[in-house]
Symmetry: C2
Subunit: 263 residues, 2 copies
Amino acid sequence: MAEVELLKEPELNEALEALRRGLAKRLVILIIGCCNVHYKGRASSKLEPGDRIVLIKEDGSLQVHRPYGYEPVNWQPPGCVFHTELHEEGLRLVAVRHTPKEHVRITFSKIHLLTLLNLVDSGAFALHATEEDMQRAILLEPSLIEPGLKPITYEKRVEPGFVDIYARDREGRLVVIEIKRKTAGRDAVLQLHKYVQSLKKEAKTPVRGILVAPKLAKGAQKLLVSLNLEYKRVSPKKCAEILERAKRKALTQYMAPAGEERF
Amino acid sequence: MAEVELLKEPELNEALEALRRGLAKRLVILIIGCCNVHYKGRASSKLEPGDRIVLIKEDGSLQVHRPYGYEPVNWQPPGCVFHTELHEEGLRLVAVRHTPKEHVRITFSKIHLLTLLNLVDSGAFALHATEEDMQRAILLEPSLIEPGLKPITYEKRVEPGFVDIYARDREGRLVVIEIKRKTAGRDAVLQLHKYVQSLKKEAKTPVRGILVAPKLAKGAQKLLVSLNLEYKRVSPKKCAEILERAKRKALTQYMAPAGEERF
DNA sequence: TGCTAAATCTCGAAC
DNA sequence: GTTCGAGGTTTAGCA
């Protein structure tokens, strides 16, 4: 059960004490207050005073949110070390990180609300229909691409990187498949081309290259044709459906005797 | 001055009323509670129950944070429409977005804390040392690249895209400069090569290509040499310093009579 | 509106 | 640790 400790409009020294306690206990900390922020590291930045929401998580990550915008205006990835002090300008919180060396320094002139949170969260998270899901779906049902296609391996190492799927078509020719979950552009075509070239050298036989994506960018079409590559439209949604079907089928096999219906 | 309204451990119907009021007034809303989350749109996802922090901003953006991880586990970009209801499973908040059509549905079984925030934030934000800053710095001080370099234009249109800086060296040869803020890889080399080839055709004279970046990727070096291109190491930090100096100088020109010292 | 390139990208996996 | 590719990337700048 979650525990919540609240300090409304605390004095800065009260807030400092609570903040230090929260950091020591690795709690999630939320601070709402008026602050300025300085950042120095990969780049550098300066944020003039205003009301913001500061969020520190158990993993030592930090984010500073303005009242608008999806992304934090300043942040620090997980693994920071935090320093706190009462400076003449206000309550200072510094998040320091190494590799790369950088820091965010927040100076609060006023704290409206400080909360220490002990959150319990072990819920599983599942995301469907990523590029990997598309790959798994094609491996499950290669006929999605064309009849008679037989996968040999997947994630085959080829000089410039990894081939998504490596297969043989119904006429015995080698096939390299490059998958994109979104519109495939020139870059995807060139990537596939590189793989095909590399495999042609290796195999010394004809190698087909098929670009699999929900859509082909306008400029990519011409390049694709000129490089003698092919395109097969496949939507992530269709792939998710195939995986869902396969999952249900697998479950049914284990859970229900043949002939019995399940809902 | 910021206003903060707090509901600690509210009943779900109390929370619903406050939530609707906050949404209607376009306030920043923070909800800490136990919830599950469903998402459907560009992809789809499901998050099993646990304690999370939900943040709704003035611009209609939404994010769901777990107690760890820099990124929100689920989110919705600015411009959402929110729907709320008391469902048998708990308090439901749905954030709907069009283009692309997608929604996030959060169902709270328990709310530990709900806050409505009227935040005042008009502080300026300045970020230094982006790729554009590097370009401006080089235009201000072309000697960063080599002595005697004279820029002609910047962002010159050339068939494959835009040349960062187009210049002439001390011997009158044309120079194409491609800038990268981070390690430049093979792609940057090829990009520069394309520009040089394109300009050689256009100008029918020798064209030098210089890749400017803080670092050169291992594989890129060989390609660079084989394509007869050059590399000049320039750090974003140095560029930021040059811009800072130039800015101070510009201010000094306006603010102080010649010969007077300022600190 | 749609495309392109950059980001303090983040995140994860492989070497 | 570094590198490389994917992301519900987001964001900003333009055609």
